[in-house]
Symmetry: C2
Subunit: 493 residues, 2 copies
């Protein structure tokens, strides 16, 4: 590992900064497979912390984990017309089930005699195979709601990839639910969006705007897509999680009906919802700085790193410190096994990796009632067995709150409006970024024109700005016609 890795400053090259931060933090590495990333232990540990938090909340909604096949028969994709449109162009296709020696004498090839009768798709998402199973499991209203979730890998073939943000393979959870009524299904989709927002804000300290996607940005096969949109430090938006009300589209495609209490057959209503390792990209771009990764304590695999300094009776001191941390359930690590590294480089490394608190413990420090916090401005921490860990815990809470507050302030300061489309164009041309909240008359053609001309897209129609009467008397900032929504425009990743 390169110890002296220099991180490109954000001001110099934001995109390179991002790549540098995740590499310097050892979160991720390029793999030999185009577009596929290797998630290194540090990145995986962050994902696992996030996963635990989200998994618990998903279970609390009465959803159960399950596992469905990686492969989807090609014909399944065609059953829902919009769905196939959305995914056919970016899927990995399995055509053979065996390799054989290449007759040219060099290497291997797919064995022509082991060609599959029907190609299989590596799942880009699992609606089709899950609804095929739901047909077997649902017969009566008593079987509803049926709520399952899986933690899985999915593949969407992308030409331009970036670790976490866009990659051919990524990890995610996908929830799929079946309901007896439209209202219940829609309510479920909205409830899950709330869960995502709660985790984004409460755990990752990423403030988000909740809203509805415009029809042209909906998930392929959905009647309505809800989204949480976050604002990165460079003023671009990042879609961080989506939840779909699928109407009866998949029930129709896969013939899934239930008998209601009156003994008559009805089509089932559906939702699906997912967040992915993309959230780690949002995490990096919300908090990190030119010194490297910054992790909110709630999601940091190590919340406090103890770096022993000097010689002497430090072991006992460390034990007292770690015992205190343990008593408060704080995740800590003692970095004492790398004798070839001085404390300075250790501090530097843990800073780059985003550990919230780094403290050094030297001989007699504990006797002298102190351990040294390395972050300037904080200075020495008073140490005594009863208060030290609580003090650390308080500091961790303050850091968590501070990160969320700072990000929220940035989001608020960068949410603005414009009086006209010309003004938006000029601002974007001049390099201004952020969220632009404007009255809008829903129109797919106009939306596409704006995207082509400015690269800005409708991130969502925010719930908070689309209550009853929200657009009364307002005119669309683009067409001048009566507005149908308040829309949030932005450049996006």
């Amino acid at each position: 590992e390169k110890e002296n890795f220099v991180i490109t400053p954000r001001a110099t090259d934001y995109s390179q900064w991002y790549q540098d931060v995740i590499q310097a933090a050892q979160m991720v590495d390029q793999s030999p497979v185009k577009g596929c990333m290797v998630i290194r232990p540090w990145g995986m540990a962050v994902w696992d912390e996030l996963k635990d938090e989200l998994n618990r909340r998903i279970k609390e909604t009465g959803t159960q984990n399950a596992y469905f096949p990686l492969f989807i028969p090609m014909s399944f994709l065609s059953k829902e017309a919009e769905h196939v449109e959305g995914f056919a162009k970016e899927c990995a296709v399995v055509t053979h089930h065996r390799l054989c020696a290449d007759p040219s004498g060099k290497g291997l090839m797919a064995d022509p005699e082991a060609k599959l009768e029907e190609p299989l798709i590596v799942r880009p998402t699992s609606e089709t195979i899950i609804w095929d199973m739901f047909r077997k499991w649902i017969s009566s209203y008593r079987d509803l709601p049926l709520k399952v979730n899986q933690w899985a890998n999915v593949v969407r073939w992308e030409l331009r990839t970036r670790p976490f943000l866009r990659s051919a393979e990524f990890l995610w959870q996908e929830g799929h639910t079946a309901h007896a009524s439209k209202e219940e299904a829609d309510g479920c989709a909205r409830e899950m969006l709330d869960v995502y927002a709660e985790v984004a804000e409460g755990i990752l300290a990423i403030p988000v705007v909740k809203g509805t996607k415009s029809p042209s940005e909906r998930f392929a096969g959905a009647d309505e897509t809800y989204t949480i949109e976050a604002l990165m430090q460079n003023g671009w938006a990042l879609q961080s999680g989506t939840s779909h009300f699928l109407g009866q589209n998949f029930a129709k495609a896969f013939d899934v009906k239930f008998q209601n209490a009156d003994q008559s057959a009805e089509l089932v209503w559906a939702t699906s919802w997912g967040v992915s390792t993309r959230l780690l990209g949002a995490l990096v771009m919300t908090h990190s700085d030119d010194a490297g990764l910054v992790l909110p304590p709630q999601v940091s695999p190590v919340q406090v790193v103890i770096i022993p300094v000097g010689r002497g009776k430090k072991e006992n001191d460390e034990k007292k410190v770690t015992a205190a941390l343990k008593s408060q359930g704080i995740r800590y690590k003692v970095d004492d096994s790398r004798d070839n590294m001085k404390p300075g480089p250790k501090f530097y490394e843990w800073e780059r990796r985003g550990v919230p608190l780094r403290v050094e413990v030297g001989p007699r420090d504990v006797d002298a009632n102190k351990v040294r916090g390395e972050d300037d401005g904080r200075g020495d921490l008073p140490f005594d067995q009863t208060n030290f860990a609580q003090d650390i815990k308080k500091q961790l809470q303050d850091i968590q709150t501070g990160l969320l507050d700072a990000a929220r302030k940035r989001l608020e300061e960068n949410t603005k409006t414009v009086a006209s489309y010309d003004e938006l164009k000029t601002k974007l041309e001049n390099g201004e970024t952020g969220f632009f909240l404007v009255p809008w008359k829903d129109d797919a053609v106009n939306e596409e024109t704006i995207k082509t001309e400015t690269k800005a897209t409708i991130r969502c129609f925010p719930f908070a700005h689309n209550g009853p009467g929200a657009v009364n008397g307002k005119k669309c900032f683009y067409s001048g016609k009566d507005a149908t929504h308040m829309a949030l425009f932005a450049r996006a990743f």
Copy 2:
């Protein structure tokens, strides 16, 4: 769901009994993709309990979780000669990255214009891609040992499949480690086998025999394969976990060297080790009976199910009971939401699903200091706030111990010896099963002959019977030559 599902008795058709048990317990379902299973919530919850237990122990050995790509470039497979031999004939091959409309006008096809330059293999195991990354991560002895693990899906194309036991896709963990010395690597492989045995016996209540595989049964690319072998109720063996000492084979194939303390370059030593959802098959076939699944409490998602009976002030009673269970960290479920089901069928269903304890709580039961345990012979349980949950906990421990003891007794009683190969053949022909421990002179041709003639294979050379001097003066039961090992033969799944 069919409530009156009848489970085929073991004596009638063991194989059908297995299928019936896992279906009646709602652990698994057939998927529309040949050879791929759907793991239903109950099966998934059992796997998740097992996963948590194993994951914690893996981390305690200093191993970190990571994630590597699903796809492996075809050429990687060829780099290790034995490895490719082992896996080329059973892998799913991705050849295209897009679908297009079939010109015949019907449906879709792999787009000929989106053919990959080099086919990708869906990982059957990840040694090759991981060792390609290890080359980037290892340069000095200070980088060693390097120990990573991933929880992932893998695909091995099988023609004859059975849920959990043998399926095209399955879930597993695969650990991969790199070491500076042969001794350390071999020690690591043996340590992980101990971890597997501990989880099999301590959590799943499956007694196992630890040992070394014969050379012809080794993992493709290993210098030595260690295994835990369990004995199912029908007297067949089930390989339940393996750990491989890979020597320097993958280091050579992927050119992974480290600088030792003397500044000279050496090849790295390797291990890999894995257990899979196959363990769930072992679990089912070790404890279950003609009434359905039997789960050891340690791995049961629900340890106690509370079934309310009668009417009256039962809600308060239930609350007292559940509060008591919660205080002891017991996993419980109150089955109170299915008003259309009588207590009888509920009991029957939870029994089929393997819940260790099923208790009914009726009005005034708690006041009367009792709840009814449904398992005969146990009768009413005295209930009072302080002792009830401890009593339940004690019962759960007894059930756990009882299952292990019974399985261990069966394993011991069914481990026997034979004086000659003729005796073995006769016994197997007469339908006798179990483990046969015999002196053996290692010989791949003889091993193959025995397999062809009797379908019995060497499950392992048990550690416990291959200590120093174990074969002194003994002659091979087949060839009559000086024995090299004590070998354990059995029919196996």
